[in-house]
């Protein structure tokens, strides 16, 4: 029911918003299925977002004012497109930065790989 495939759902759970917002900063508008396909493609099939995780997250972000929607009629089908608001853009930047930081911290914690370009320099300057 959740985003998973190669990775545990616990590991990916907190990243769904980040993934969706980042994608929408790069694409003017996308619909649900398109998002799942894009993520599958970008992750070489390693991350599959399921409907059960995708739609509640999209609806929540729409209610929070991070996303806008627009519907297009294709015969009897109605396609709902999502696009990002300025507020969503700001959030996307913050989430991506935060995630980047987190990955670096985790690397340090797990592999004791100090970030040479920043970490040591900062330590020495103090």
């Amino acid at each position: 029911m959740y985003i998973c495939f190669m990775y545990s759902k616990e590991l990916l759970k907190g990243t769904l918003q980040t993934i969706i917002l980042k994608l929408l900063t790069e694409h003017p508008k996308m619909y649900g299925y398109e998002i799942t396909q894009k993520v599958k493609e970008l992750s070489a099939g390693k991350i599959a977002i399921t409907e059960g995780a995708l739609y509640p997250t999209l609806h929540k972000m729409e209610a929070e004012g991070l996303l806008l929607t627009e519907t297009v009629h294709l015969g009897k089908r109605v396609r709902k497109y999502y696009s990002i608001t300025p507020q969503g853009n700001t959030r996307a930047t913050a989430l991506v930065e935060e995630f980047n930081e987190f990955v670096q911290t985790m690397r340090t914690v797990l592999f004791n790989k100090l970030n040479l370009e920043h970490g040591n320099a900062e330590r020495e300057s103090n």
Binding site: G52, A63, K76, R91
Partner: protein
């Protein structure tokens, strides 16, 4: 990609209507999603009924009702958070409000503002899992941090270049506020501070997004800081 024809869409729609999805906008989305899955399978050479069966397996109809509930729940949760921050205010907090704010007769000693002005916040503050986590503000680096109430600086601690400094302020009525993640402190230990006074600046890492963790305790017990301020208090 080849699109499903009207008859095929109608067939899916009929199966759908038998299921009574409460949220019509979700029904549109689920139908479109299902149709896309079918089209993908047909692209790979399946005929319609096989493709439909495969799509149903991948996205079983039993899950629609659950999905609709989850969507409604997620939306309501977001709206509560978005439009009505005081929703979280429990009756305990109301009593506290009475004791500190009215009982004390001095608005300044009650942490009724946010430590970071809203215009320097880059994202909604993050609420911790428990009250002792306080609230995490995400801000532009070097943003000023303000004392949320009148008090005395009790303790300043330097936790190194990664975390920065922490500052503890004692207010009247057994309230303490703690600010974690500053790089520049503009007050000193023992100094009296006023509500809104600048205490220092948020540690600015290389990416220019800084984090300030803010905690409130009452008689040593952690409280949810949001119970004290309204999210629109910052007027100047």
């Amino acid at each position: 990609m080849e699109m499903l024809n009207e008859n095929q869409i109608e067939q899916i729609l009929r199966d759908f209507q038998a299921r009574d999805l409460k949220d019509p906008s979700l029904q549109d989305e689920v139908l479109d999603h299902l149709a896309c899955l079918i089209e993908e399978a047909m692209q790979e050479g399946s005929n319609f009924s096989d493709a439909y069966a495969k799509a149903q397996k991948e996205f079983p109809s039993e899950s629609y009702t659950q999905l609709a509930e989850q969507c409604v729940e997620a939306k309501e949760k977001a709206q509560r958070k978005h439009n009505f921050p005081w929703f979280a205010l429990s009756s305990v907090a109301s009593i506290l409000f009475f004791i500190f704010f009215i009982g004390d007769g001095n608005a300044q000693s009650y942490p009724g503002i946010q430590p970071i002005p809203q215009d320097t916040q880059v994202a909604l503050p993050e609420i911790g899992v428990s009250d002792s986590d306080g609230v995490l503000f995400r801000v532009r680096g070097n943003s000023p941090v303000h004392a949320t109430a009148r008090g005395i600086v009790l303790e300043i601690q330097n936790l190194g270049p990664d975390i920065g400094c922490t500052l503890l302020i004692q207010h009247s009525n057994h309230i303490q506020t703690q600010y974690i993640g500053l790089n520049q402190i503009l007050v000193s230990k023992g100094e009296n501070v006023e509500q809104g006074q600048c205490l220092g600046k948020v540690l600015s890492p290389r990416n220019n997004i800084g984090y300030l963790r803010y905690r409130v305790t009452w008689e040593g017990q952690a409280m949810d800081p949001r119970n004290f301020y309204s999210e629109n208090t910052w007027a100047d």
